[in-house]
């Protein structure tokens, strides 16, 4: 028996939260034509609401429950102290449109975060406005386009995207009206230099590069790649999803990356929340600073010996404009800030070192049993093939589902697209050697089962609240609301 839906738990007349009676004289309500007749929301007591959501939560896997080796998601521990600092009343009750003099605490926090992220990435300018990684990508691509147009160059409409890229990269480029051309990776998992050379012409707006890439590999020719794009007049966009491998190791800006988005919900420990919110700040090189979305936080009055500097919101002179309302995900900024003050430069380097150490260690335990398509030292993640030619009926999906019986969340499946039956594994730095060993043991056991008793994998998972879900039925008979039968197909 699953947990009932809200509409089934509702009992007419129940109410969880009540409000005081009006302490002002009542006014006439608007004419009846402007009022709604029915308000079909559930009616439940507070205890029933709490029980419902508590029971739902118990059906979830989470970082707090167990290990999530999801490649390129960086499922590191979400520190509880972040949840305290974000709830400080001075932060939680501040209205975004208050006069700046009344919110200097928030503005100083945002300003410092801007400065620190610039320092970590090697950038001259930054915006904290984008709401998520994909939103940051859109911002970055719009900046690249604005840069070329500002120089009167309307020919540049081509964006190069490696075949290993995350799906948001081409989707973002298309959304910005640019032409997407896919670049092959070479046999070592690097951007194929010959393929790149062919595309370096005067229609090149830019290259979107994830480095390390989704194979977990640092491009061995990264400086050459960036140089070639710059020589052709293009810009390089860095997808910062894999920053966890680079903290204190190398700054993308130093390598020549012109614009990069950070994922605060990956690298900087803000919680995933079951799908969001994220936060995608975008750092830029000197030549792009004027195009940043506004407003950004800056010192608007230097002050003197008596008065401290005054922080405010400024609009960059050639700004591409706003990408959302207000200033960005302040709540995620507070969490990232808390995380950064607790780490400092040495702590950040330790994160990257331990993340990369963990990945290489886990790889050493698995590489003899699972095929490693790109045999190189990996960074913070690696990709294995989830298949064996001798058991053709067993797919990566089956391995993933069987892992659930061993109480692990599966790694990322079927991505990147350039590896057949891909399993993308990222341990992160907060996992202990014991956890990694237990996971490796499970993976080895499953490999054995695949050969001796594959049905165990095909029927998996056995021990979870639900088994494999019929996705075809879900798509064909669309039921997207409580108590409503499948939407008609017309």
């Amino acid at each position: 028996m699953g947990e009932p839906q809200l509409c089934d738990l509702s009992v007419p007349g129940r109410q969880g939260i009540r409000f005081p009676q009006p302490d002002v004289p009542l006014s006439d309500l608007p004419p009846a034509g402007l009022l709604r007749d029915e308000l079909p929301l559930p009616e439940m007591s507070e205890l029933e609401v709490i029980r419902h959501y508590t029971r739902l939560s118990q059906l979830n896997y989470s970082i707090d429950t167990g290990y999530y080796p999801l490649g390129s998601c960086t499922m590191k521990y979400n520190p509880k102290v972040n949840e305290e600092t974000v709830r400080l009343p001075g932060f939680a009750y501040a209205h975004p449109l208050q006069p700046v003099e009344t919110v200097q605490g928030s503005l100083v926090l945002l300003y410092n975060l801007q400065e620190w992220l610039k320092e970590i990435g090697g950038f001259a300018g930054i915006t904290l406005q984008p709401a998520a990684g994909a939103h940051g990508e859109l911002t970055g691509v719009l900046i690249i386009r604005a840069y070329h147009r500002s120089r009167g160059d309307h020919k540049r409409d081509k964006i190069l995207i490696p075949d290993s890229a995350h799906g948001t990269n081409p989707a973002t480029s298309a959304m910005s009206g640019l032409r997407v051309v896919e670049l092959k990776s070479d046999a070592r998992g690097n951007v194929d230099l010959e393929a790149l050379k062919l595309e370096c012409d005067d229609t090149l707006a830019g290259l979107m590069l994830t480095n390390p890439n989704t194979l977990g590999l640092f491009d061995e020719n990264v400086e050459e790649v960036i140089h070639m794009v710059h020589q052709a007049g293009g810009l390089v966009y860095g997808d910062g999803a894999n920053m966890n491998a680079l903290l204190g190791i190398v700054r993308p800006g130093d390598l020549g990356i012109d614009v990069l988005h950070y994922n605060l919900h990956k690298t900087f420990s803000t919680p995933h929340g079951g799908g969001g919110p994220g936060s995608g700040p975008v750092g830029v090189a000197e030549n792009l600073v004027d195009f940043l979305p506004g407003p950004i936080v800056d010192v608007i009055d230097m002050g003197d010996e008596e008065t401290p500097p005054l922080y405010g919101l400024v609009q960059p002179p050639k700004s591409i404009g706003r990408v959302k309302a207000f200033h960005g995900h302040f709540g995620m900024a507070v969490r990232a800030y808390t995380y950064l003050v607790m780490h400092g430069a040495q702590g950040l380097r330790q994160i990257a070192e331990m993340a990369v150490l963990n990945a290489n260690y886990l790889l050493s335990r698995l590489r003899d049993t699972y095929h490693l398509p790109y045999d190189r030292v990996c960074m913070h993640e690696f990709v294995l093939e989830g298949r064996w030619p001798e058991v053709p009926d067993v797919h990566a999906l089956d391995i993933a589902k069987r892992l659930m019986d061993y109480k692990f969340h599966p790694p990322t499946n079927y991505f990147p697209l350039i590896v057949h039956e891909a399993l993308m594994i990222e341990p992160t730095e907060t996992e202990s050697k014991e956890t990694l060993d237990t996971f490796a043991d499970a993976m080895l056991k499953i490999a054995e089962e695949a050969h001796t008793n594959p049905q165990l994998l095909k029927d998996a998972p056995h021990n979870t609240p639900v088994g494999r879900v019929d996705e075809v039925k879900a798509a064909k008979e669309l039921v997207l609301c409580c108590g409503v039968s499948a939407l008609d197909r017309e």
């Binding site: 809200l6 969880g16 939260i17 409000f19 009006p22 006014s27 402007l34 009022l35 709604r36 559930p42 959501y53 739902l56 979830n60 896997y61 989470s62 600092t85 974000v86 400080l88 932060f91 501040a94 209205h95 009344t102 605490g105 928030s106 320092e119 859109l138 719009l142 799906g167 948001t168 989707a171 973002t172 997407v180 400086e223 190398v250 929340g273 079951g274 799908g275 969001g276 207000f326 200033h327 302040f330 709540g331 800030y337 607790m342 780490h343 040495q346 950040l348 380097r349 331990m354 659930m404 969340h409 599966p410 730095e429 639900v466 088994g467 019929d470 879900a474 997207l480 609301c481 409580c482």
Partner: protein, 449 residues
């Protein structure tokens, strides 16, 4: 610091990998850029970090310290304790996107229920699992409408009474695109209602976008606007304040094709501007054109009811450059919070708090209108926000109100140059009778001095 590695762990791992030094793992990084010295403050312990953040928070004045009459897209509402209690559960907070349904039925069912609640609230057929905020939701509605007509209609009619920041966001998203955005230029008649948009709607129009209540707080019935849009073959998008829908006629009833909104009033703290919640709902015929995640019902291989992300073939991870949107993350935690809020209040509670907002705002408006030198700018019906014409520039009045610990309303001259002395005042269930009196007295004093 959250890495658990002991020296013994590190040594064992290096041995297993077959290298001597940790630094060897980074040989691939160009030497001249390797291991930069980052100029960051030294690491603090948790105790010290909390103290530092506390000092920053204390440097703010907030709606906890001031009587808040500021709205304009973010509102000071009461957040019941039970909402945060649910959000702080690690199983919700630290869970990933529910791509593996067997391990995420909690998140999936919660989002499914959220979708149902939003559809019920807005009077529409389906809702998605949320967009980033009210502004980006409108931008996605514009993209959706443009894609719906396959590029054959490129005109978007924007009401000038749609939130200025939403219109700016739409403009950023449509820079250098074939879209033509009309209707909100400086020559627009701000005193007119939605009928002013009628002459702009024609066979080139893909979408008409209005706000409800509008940015000036006014409430209009958009039914005839919907009819006019449909007669021209265009779609209508209504951007809502969900709290107003606790008592007002739904955009669904009016004939809207798309409903977007800012869900912050539903149990989400103001938090200096984010994270908030982009509501997005539509009619069933448009469900496949809608961007963003969708949770659907199905069954599992044991015959049980189960929830799963569905219609994922529309999304970026499959469609890549052919996806209508690049959206990946949603506002999962905020959607959950708003669902808990709506469940706690329920049909009676949401109506009750909506009416409290309504009555307090109308009382405040009447009291201010009675002050010599102040008057209500519009006679249109309103919900919990209204515009007053003031004797002095709003910035000056607000400075003086702050001295009385009052956060005054929004200075409309920042966005509408013609509205030189006009303040947008919001009144919610959090403003007591005494606070309203304080505001009235302070306004009186300011106009005399």
């Amino acid at each position: 610091m959250f890495t658990p590695h002991t020296d013994a762990d590190r040594e064992a791992m290096l041995r297993a990998i077959g290298i001597d030094h940790l630094a060897d793992l980074f040989k691939v990084v160009p030497a001249k850029h390797r291991f930069p010295d980052l100029a960051l403050p030294p690491a603090e312990t948790e105790m010290e970090a909390v103290a530092e953040l506390q000092n920053l928070a204390w440097a703010n004045e907030s709606a906890r310290d001031l009587a808040c009459f500021l709205g304009a897209g973010a509102y000071n509402h009461y957040v019941p304790a039970a909402v945060d209690a649910v959000l702080r559960r690690g199983e919700f907070l630290t869970a990933y996107t529910p791509y593996q349904p067997e391990l995420s039925q909690g998140t999936l069912q919660a989002i499914f229920e959220y979708q149902s609640l939003v559809a019920a609230l807005t009077g529409m057929d389906v809702s998605n699992a949320s967009h980033y905020d009210g502004a980006t939701a409108v931008a996605e509605a514009v993209n959706m409408a443009y894609a719906n007509f396959r590029g054959k209609r490129a005109k978007i009619v924007l009401s000038p009474a749609l939130h200025p920041q939403y219109r700016q966001t739409v403009r950023t998203y449509s820079t250098d695109s074939p879209l033509q955005l009309v209707g909100d230029g400086p020559e627009s008649d701000l005193n007119a209602g939605p009928e002013a948009l009628l002459p702009l709607i024609d066979g080139e129009t893909a979408l008409v976008v209005v706000q409800y209540p509008d940015f000036f707080g006014r409430v209009y019935d958009y039914t005839s606007l919907a009819e006019a849009a449909h007669a021209a073959g265009a779609l209508l998008c209504v951007a809502i304040n969900p709290m107003a829908l606790g008592m007002l006629k739904t955009p669904g009833q009016m004939g809207a094709d798309i409903v977007t909104g800012e869900g912050q009033p539903l149990g989400i703290p103001m938090s200096f501007g984010g994270p908030y919640l982009g509501l997005f709902a539509t009619r069933k015929e448009f469900v496949r054109k809608m961007a963003g995640r969708l949770v659907g019902e199905s069954i599992d291989n044991r015959g049980q009811l189960a929830y799963v992300l569905t219609l994922t073939a529309r999304e970026q991870h499959i469609r890549r450059e052919k996806a209508t949107s690049n959206i990946c993350s949603n506002q999962g935690l905020m959607a959950l919070g708003s669902a808990v809020y709506m469940s706690l209040l329920g049909k009676n509670g949401l109506r009750q708090v909506a009416e409290l907002n309504y009555h307090k705002a109308h009382h405040a408006a009447a009291r201010i209108h009675d002050l010599p030198k102040y008057s209500l700018w519009s006679g249109a019906p309103f919900f919990n926000e209204f515009v007053i014409q003031c004797p002095l520039p709003v910035a000056e009045i607000n400075d003086l109100l702050l001295e009385h610990d009052i956060l005054g309303g929004y200075d409309l001259s920042q966005d509408y140059p013609a509205l030189t002395h006009h303040m947008l005042v919001a009144v919610t269930e959090m403003n007591s009778h005494e606070e309203i009196e304080m505001l009235v007295e302070a306004l009186r004093e300011v106009s005399n001095g």
